[in-house]
């Protein structure tokens, strides 16, 4: 299923930012619009929950980008690929 666009453009941009770094999107339940999963597939991997209706879209988008930047699993893979 193709990913729908998030209704807030700032949040949509943050999701695109995550996807560009290898994160995958899964549909969420209830107030959760979707879950972003980092490149590491097991339970040690990182997950970010994207709200359907964040109180402040700009702050939520910024926090998503910050959490993506804190994940080091992508770097691990990049390092492996470099070798």
């Amino acid at each position: 299923m193709a990913r729908p666009r998030h209704s807030k453009k700032e949040v949509e941009a943050a999701v695109v930012y995550a996807e560009a770094r290898g994160w995958r999107w899964r549909k969420g339940e209830g107030h959760c619009w979707g879950r972003l999963k980092c490149t590491r597939p097991d339970r040690q991997g990182c997950q970010i929950s994207v709200n359907s209706t964040p109180r402040n879209a700009v702050n939520h988008a910024r926090a998503i980008v910050r959490a993506v930047d804190h994940c080091w699993h992508g770097d691990e893979e990049l390092c492996d690929a470099d070798i």
Binding site: G30, C32, Q44, C46, Q47, I48, T53, N56, N59, I64
Partner: protein, 185 residues
Amino acid sequence: MQTFNFLVVATGLDPEADDFEDRFFEAGCDDATLSFQKGLILVAFDREADSLEEAVVSAVLEVLRAGATVRRVEPDELVSQADIGRRADLTRAAISNYIAGTRGDNFPLPVAKIATDNPLWRWSEVAHWLHAFDRLDAEEAAKAVLIGRINDLIAHCDADVLCHALEDMMPVTTHSPPSRRPVVG
């Protein structure tokens, strides 16, 4: 009103569960971004409030209400020399001088990882010292003391006692519903 950023670190809920996010949302955390990293639930708040105390105390209470176990609030209490530099916007050399006592007297002693080349200090003690030495503004020093106090409570109380202690700390503001206001008299 000001926006305060801080992180509540928690455990005890399954991030794969269908109702994981709704628990937090319904407890009032729609101004937080939830993530799961290194086996820990990170609740990153951007909370508007009249004071840091109101922001942090209300946030911790909501995370508890969501059913999670609160581990601590960050910015963390234990800091390395590099962390001190970042938080106080000081160079490594300046801090080395304070630690060595070549500038200023009686810099706090480290409290953990003493025998390593990366010892840790209590940020509340360091912030207090830096403020007294005019290297940190009063607001930052007060923040450090408050977060330190809340982390002490979290470390030493079970969930019920913690809830009561936090509710007692909750500042009474004009935004509180009337029923929460203590009787004046």
